[in-house]
Symmetry: C2
Subunit: 389 residues, 2 copies
C-alpha cells in the first residue's frame, strides 16, 4: 500500500468530496447541506483550527446541491478561510449575540436554487451541532418555504468511505501511536502511576509527530481495569495488574483509535485465559470484516467466540466502529446495525470481555475494508501479553 502524504489535501480531493455529497443530496432530495461542526467543516474546507474550542463564534459552511460551497464565518476567521479552496466567503463582526451569523445564514439558504425545499443539517445520529440550538431554531423560523431536515444519512454515507489520502493520514496516526505502544515495556515500570504513564505516553506521541492528542486513557487494576472511560488516577501499577492504554491521537486531523494491554508482573490464569479468548475473537473479527457483510454479522461472529457461558459480554454495547475525523464514527459493529461493509471503510474491530465482575479485557485493531477483505492498518497486538516488571 503506497501511502504518501505530500503537504495538505489537494483541491481535487475536496471537489471530489463535494461532488459525492451532491450526489447523495440528490438521492435524499436536499437543496443543500448546512455544516457547523468542526469535523464536517474541516472535511469540506480543509481548515485546521483549534478556534472552535471557543463556543463564542460559530462557523458555517453551506454546500449547495450544485456548485461550490459558501463559508459563512466570523470576521476573525476570514483571513484563514481565504487560504482555502472555498472562494465564496461571507462574514460578520463577531461576537454579535443578537445576530451571530443568523441573517447571513438565512439569506444564503434562501438563495439556494429551490428544487425540493429541503436543506440537511447536523441533527441526527452521532452528530453535534456547532452552534447553539436556539440559533438553529431561529434560522428555521426565519426560513420561508424551506425545511431544515436531518442530514445525517448524507453526512455519514459520505464520510464513511475514505479516500486514499484520508487512509494515509489514519495510517500515519496509527504508526506514530504504534511506535509508542511498542516502547511501553521499556519506559513503564512497576510503581509508575496511571497519571505519569499517561504523561510519558503523550510526550512520546507528541515528539513522534502526532497532531492533536485529544485522548489517552490509561487504566489499571489487578486482573484488568474496572472501567475504561475515566481520567488517569495517581494509582501506581502493581504486580498482577492489567495495564490498559487506549488513545485517540490524530495526524492532520485524522484519528487513530486503538488500545494495547500489558501484564504487570505475575497475573492470574483467569486473566490470561480471558486475554486469549479476546485475542481469538479479534482474529475472527478481522476475518469476518469483508465487503458485502453487515456490521451486525461481524459482531455476531465475534460474540460467538466470547459468549460461551459468559455474562456481561456486551457491556460496551458494541465491538467496534468507524474512524476518521472523529475518534468514533458510524457504523457500529453491533447487533442491529445493518450497514453493509464496502471498500474504503476504516473500522476499529474491538471485542471486549468483562470476564469477572469489574475486570475488563478489551482488544482493538483497525482495518481498511478492501475488495479482498480487511487490510490490517494496526500492527497486530501480540498474542502473548507484553510484560512490565
Amino acid at each position: 500500500m503506497q501511502l504518501e502524504i505530500d503537504g495538505g489535501f489537494t483541491t481535487p480531493e475536496f471537489q471530489a468530496r463535494v461532488s459525492r455529497a451532491q450526489k447523495l443530496m440528490g438521492e435524499y432530495k436536499l437543496d443543500g447541506l448546512l455544516l457547523s461542526s468542526m469535523d464536517n467543516i474541516r472535511y469540506i474546507v480543509g481548515i485546521d483550527s483549534t478556534f472552535w474550542e471557543s463556543y463564542t463564534r460559530p462557523w458555517f459552511v453551506l454546500v449547495p446541491a450544485e456548485g461550490d460551497p459558501t463559508a459563512i464565518i466570523p470576521e476573525i476567521g476570514h483571513s484563514i478561510m481565504e487560504t482555502t479552496w472555498v472562494k465564496e466567503l461571507r462574514s460578520w463582526p463577531s461576537p454579535r449575540p443578537e445576530d451571530e451569523g443568523t441573517s447571513l445564514l438565512v439569506n444564503a439558504i434562501s438563495e439556494l436554487p429551490r428544487r425540493h425545499g429541503r436543506v440537511g443539517a447536523e441533527l441526527g445520529m452521532e452528530l453535534r451541532l456547532g452552534m447553539p440550538v436556539a440559533q438553529l431554531l431561529d434560522v428555521i423560523t426565519k426560513l420561508k418555504g424551506i425545511e431544515i431536515v436531518d442530514g445525517a444519512n448524507v453526512i455519514w454515507q459520505l464520510r464513511m468511505i475514505k479516500s486514499q489520502a484520508e487512509v494515509a493520514r489514519i495510517k500515519r496516526a496509527i504508526d506514530i501511536t504504534g511506535t509508542v505502544f511498542e516502547a511501553v515495556p521499556d519506559f513503564v515500570e512497576v510503581g509508575d502511576t496511571e497519571r505519569t504513564i499517561q504523561r510519558e505516553f503523550r510526550a512520546r506521541l507528541n515528539s513522534g509527530g502526532a497532531g492533536a492528542i485529544p485522548a489517552v486513557i490509561c487504566r489499571s487494576d489487578v486482573g484488568g481495569p474496572f472501567e475504561i472511560t475515566g481520567g488517569p488516577r495517581d494509582r501506581p501499577i502493581v504486580d498482577g495488574d492489567l495495564l490498559f492504554i487506549d488513545t485517540g491521537t490524530t495526524y492532520d486531523g485524522y484519528y487513530c483509535d486503538y488500545d494495547r494491554n500489558y501484564r504487570v508482573g505475575n497475573v492470574s490464569d483467569a486473566l490470561l485465559q480471558a486475554h486469549e479468548r479476546v485475542w481469538q475473537a479479534n482474529e475472527i473479527g478481522l476475518e469476518a470484516a469483508r465487503p458485502g457483510v453487515t456490521a451486525a454479522s461481524v459482531f455476531e461472529q465475534m460474540a460467538n467466540v466470547l459468549s460461551s457461558g459468559d455474562k456481561n459480554l456486551n457491556s460496551n454495547g458494541r465491538m467496534g466502529h468507524g474512524l476518521g475525523l472523529r475518534v468514533t464514527e458510524p457504523p457500529s459493529i453491533r447487533l442491529g446495525d445493518q450497514t453493509v461493509l464496502v471498500p474504503g471503510m476504516v473500522l476499529c474491530i474491538e471485542p471486549g470481555l468483562e470476564y469477572e465482575a469489574g475486570k475488563i479485557v478489551l482488544h482493538e485493531e483497525t482495518v481498511l475494508i478492501t475488495e479482498d477483505g480487511a487490510q490490517l492498518l494496526t500492527k497486530r497486538a501480540p498474542r502473548q501479553l507484553p510484560r512490565i516488571d
Copy 2:
C-alpha cells in the same frame, strides 16, 4: 493568595454549586436543569473523561430544583459514575440508536416535582448540546405538560463566579504555561517552524504538569501574524517576525488562555510602537476591571487607548472574555455586553490591534475580580518584547 490543591474537588464544593444552581432555578422558574455537555456535567459531577470525544453515547445529568442530581448515562459509564458524589444513577445499554437514553430522560424529567412546568437545557448563548438535536426534539415531543426552555442564564450566572478551588486550578494552568512562555527565547531560534515550535511548546506543557492541551496556536509573520486562528504551518520564523503563541491549556479541567509575543531579530519601528500601544491598553484594561463596572466599559477604556486614528481596531469584536471549564466563557469584554463585574469572575483582558493590514498585535492577561479590583493571575507580559535570534 493561598491556592492549595489537595486532590480532587470535595463533595461540599459540588453541593455548593448545586445549591447555587437551585437558587438560580428558583429565580428563573425552572423545575430542573438538563445538562449534556462535558463541561457542564463535569461542573456538577466532577468526572474527568475524554470519552465524550466519541459522539456515539450521550451522557446526561438532571439537576432538580430541590435535592440531588440524577445521572442518566450509558452502561459503559456506570462504573466511573459510581465513584462520584452522585448517587442516583440510571443507565441503558448503549449504543441503542432507537432509544439512546431518551425514555430514561423523559421519565426522569416527568418525575421532577412540578411547580413551573419548565426545565432548562443547553439551548442558548455560548452553549453546545451534548446530544443530537433530533434527540432533544424527540424528548420535547414526548414530555407532557413540561416545557424545555433555554437554561443559558442559569448556567452562566452559575459558572461565571468561580470558587477558590476553581481559581486555584486556573492559576495552576497559568503557572505551568507561564514557565514555558518564559523559556521560549531559550528553546526557539530563527529557522524553527511554527510546527516545530508548537510541538516543543506542547512537550514542555506536558512535562510541566498540564492536564489536557486542547489548543496551542503558533503564528508568525514579518511584522505580526496575518491571522490567529489556524493550525501551525511549516513556515520557518525569520528576522523581522513577530512570533505569537496562544494556548488553552488545562489543569484538572480548568483552562488558562493567554498569549505571548516575541520579536525575531530586528523588527520594524511600526511593530514596536503598535506593541507599546497594545501593552498600554492592557494596563488600562487591568486597571478598569473592577467590581461594579460593566464588561462594556472595560472594552471602552481600552478602545480609547487604541483608537486614535486606527481602523480595524475591533476586528476580533471583543477584547476579552471569561474563563473556566471552557477556554472562553461569558461575559465578553465588548461594547454591548452590560454584564456587571463581580468578585469571583476570572477574566482574560485581551486588547488587540491590526496596526497595518494583515499585521496583528494581541496581548492577553488573566485576572481574578476581587473586592479590591483586578488581581493579576498571569505574570505580566514584559513591556519590551522578548527577543529571539
